[in-house]
């Protein structure tokens, strides 16, 4: 018996080691626990290994960053001034675009509130640096330099400004493992922006993200944007995922897979953001940004658009000027200026039309009722029944002369719409913008 063990010692050790690991595998696969992260001894082993491997990686990372910081921060600063000017111009353009979207956003919020829809907003993110990978093709995971001590927990979304990256899996004290969306065991709820087709995004065995098991649809075209749907309970709705690359039919079955080109460059990740907190209310910072965007856009437009005030015209009324004086506290005007008097009053001018109860169908409007405040103008008197055909020409001419051009009216209308939160700030040189006579501007 003793000779048997000594003779087959090596094989017995091999069998013992393999058997122990197979049993360990079976236990892990059968009872993975309620969450995606490991429990007990497995987690302890992972923690030890990560604790031994990541410190040198942090050191490498820190050294590389220091060298690059010296180079890019002090030496390689050519064309920075020109780039800064270009960015300022671009910023102005973006503010204009932001303003046009702000009203839509507010309208969307109101509609969501009416429907009881629960939107998730990103409250807080933590920036983290990527320090390593699994090192194998079979496992698409990353290691970041933030962990439980910084407030991270398993199943938190990890993103970049370009798009989503994945979610946290195992979280250790100062390091976390991130499962990328390109891994075959990952999953994220997504929606195609144009066709509104929903699906589950996961990687194939080669690490190519794809939306699996989708019904064939001819409308799905390459290049269509894909965003998160929020249906997975992890990623907030509306985050960029990527774009459709191509549609692949399954060998068997009638469903198709949609290959997606990720918006975030998953093979060149250096910094990521971990979303640690979300909520159903729009964050105060975002609300402020939204309001300030409208305010700044009005200023930009006022600087760019031509002034309506004529150089030879008499100075404006003192009341109007006083009304536009900025408040000493906020620097913003306290009350909007009064509307300018109509040069050619007509039936469209405010107060010129009699109440509906006094009007008789088929009869012309009484001259007394039509008499506006500036009724001394003979052109404003109502025409006789026999010259009724001349009225449209008159009204059209007066309407155009007294109206505000669409370009100057738009910022006024915006300001009117936000008057409940911010005092209206009319654009300098465009007194008509804050007249308050534009009904569509109200909320």
């Amino acid at each position: 018996m003793e000779s048997f063990f000594s003779r087959y010692r090596n094989v017995l050790v091999l069998i013992t080691v393999l058997l122990a690991q197979v049993i360990g595998l079976a236990v892990q696969v059968r009872a993975p626990g309620p969450g995606p992260a490991d429990k007990g001894g497995v987690r302890l082993i992972r923690s030890w290994v990560v604790g031994m491997v990541t410190p040198p990686e942090r050191l490498f990372r820190w050294t590389g960053h220091s060298i690059r910081g010296v180079w890019f921060g002090y030496i390689d600063l050519i064309h920075v001034r020109k780039q800064n000017r270009d960015l300022q111009t671009q910023l102005g353009q973006l503010r204009l675009e932001e303003d046009s979207l702000a009203e839509d956003a507010r309208q969307g919020l109101r509609l969501q509130a009416l429907l009881g829809f629960q939107e998730k907003y990103i409250y807080k993110t933590i920036a983290a640096q990527v320090i390593g990978t699994s090192g194998t093709e079979q496992s698409h995971v990353l290691f970041i330099d933030k962990g439980a001590d910084e407030g991270l927990r398993p199943d938190m979304p990890v993103i970049t400004p370009d798009g989503i990256v994945g979610k946290t899996r195992d979280v250790f004290a100062h390091t976390s493992q991130v499962l990328e969306i390109s891994d075959a065991t990952s999953g994220a709820g997504v929606i195609l922006v144009n066709t509104r087709i929903r699906g589950v995004l996961r990687g194939d065995s080669w690490g190519q993200p794809q939306i699996v098991n989708v019904s064939p649809d001819e409308r799905i075209k390459p290049g269509e944007p894909v965003v998160t749907s929020g249906g997975d309970g992890i990623f907030p709705r509306g985050l960029a995922v990527g774009s459709v690359q191509r549609v692949v039919s399954e060998p068997e079955g009638t469903l198709v897979n949609i290959q997606v080109k990720p918006a975030a460059n998953l093979s060149r990740l250096e910094e990521v953001l971990v979303i640690t907190s979300t909520g159903s209310q729009m964050p105060s910072q975002m609300q402020d940004d939204l309001s300030q965007a409208e305010q700044k856009t009005a200023d930009i437009l006022a600087e760019r658009l031509p002034s309506r005030s004529e150089p030879n015209a008499a100075p404006a009324a003192s009341g109007s000027t006083a009304a536009q004086q900025p408040s000493p506290d906020t620097g913003l005007p306290t009350t909007p200026p009064p509307p300018p008097p109509a040069e050619h009053p007509d039936r469209f001018s405010m107060g010129a039309t009699p109440p509906a109860a006094d009007m008789v169908p088929g009869q012309p409007i009484s001259p007394n009722a039509v008499e506006p405040t500036g009724g001394s103008n003979p052109s404003a008197s109502p025409p006789a029944p026999d010259d009724r055909h001349a009225r449209p020409a008159t009204t059209a001419g007066s309407g155009s002369s007294g109206s505000v051009s669409p370009q100057t009216a738009k910022p006024g209308a915006r300001n009117q719409g936000t008057a409940s939160q911010h005092p209206a700030k009319p654009a300098p040189g465009s007194p008509g913008t804050g007249s308050g006579s534009t009904p569509q501007g109200g909320n």
Binding site: R9, N10, V13, L14, V17, L18, Q21, V22, G24, L25, Q28, V29, V42, I45, R46, W48, V49, V50, M52, V53, P56, E57, F60, V130, I131, G132, T133, S134, G135, T136, E137, Q138, S139, V141, L142, F143, R169, D170, Q177, L179, D183, A184, T185, D204, S205, W206, S267, L269
Partner: protein, 172 residues
């Protein structure tokens, strides 16, 4: 530095400093994780596998090589999100085979090292396919051309790495 393998007699009278036994696997795991982040193609190379093969053919003790392979493999598993034991099983087998062959074959010349590494890399991928696809039911990509390129890349890298590790051995 000359990339010349030592003779069979010389190799038999040499051993490694204890520190190398600990540092080399750790360094292999760390470099594998770090370099794959910056060089995407580096994940073709499997440094822990090369370390396991080298220890196997150098120590020529199947029992020790099995244990070393299992430990290195489990450590590699710990850096993935897979269950612990997949790489552990494969590397334990590779360590055992490498040590068994090291007793019978002259593993001190570069030709045999290249061939052995090529064969062991393919063998490891085959075992991984068996474990992941058949035993665990996980998706596993297999493409012959890709696997042969991977095996060839590991073989060439092994020549340089083994020569470097040879220099850490000392006369016993």
């Amino acid at each position: 530095m000359a990339l010349i393998a030592s003779s069979r007699h010389e190799a038999g009278s040499r051993s490694f400093p204890p520190l190398v036994y600990i540092l080399a696997p750790l360094l292999a795991l760390g470099l594998q994780s770090f370099l794959s982040l910056h060089f995407t193609s580096f994940d073709l190379i499997d440094l822990p596998l090369l370390i396991t093969i080298y220890y196997g053919i150098s120590m020529r003790e199947p029992m020790s090589a099995t244990v070393v392979g299992a430990i290195v493999g489990i450590a590699q598993d710990a850096l993935t999100h897979h269950p612990l034991g997949i790489f552990g099983i494969t590397k334990a087998v590779i360590g055992y085979l490498a040590a068994s062959l090291g007793v019978r074959v002259d593993t001190e010349n570069h030709g045999s090292r290249v061939l052995l590494t090529f064969a062991f890399t393919l063998a490891q991928t085959g075992m991984l396919w068996l474990l992941e696809r058949r035993m665990l039911g996980q998706p596993f990509a297999w493409h012959w051309v890709h696997e042969i390129i991977r095996a060839a890349a590991n073989s060439l890298f092994a020549v340089i790495l083994f020569a470097l590790l040879d220099r850490t051995r000392r006369e016993s």
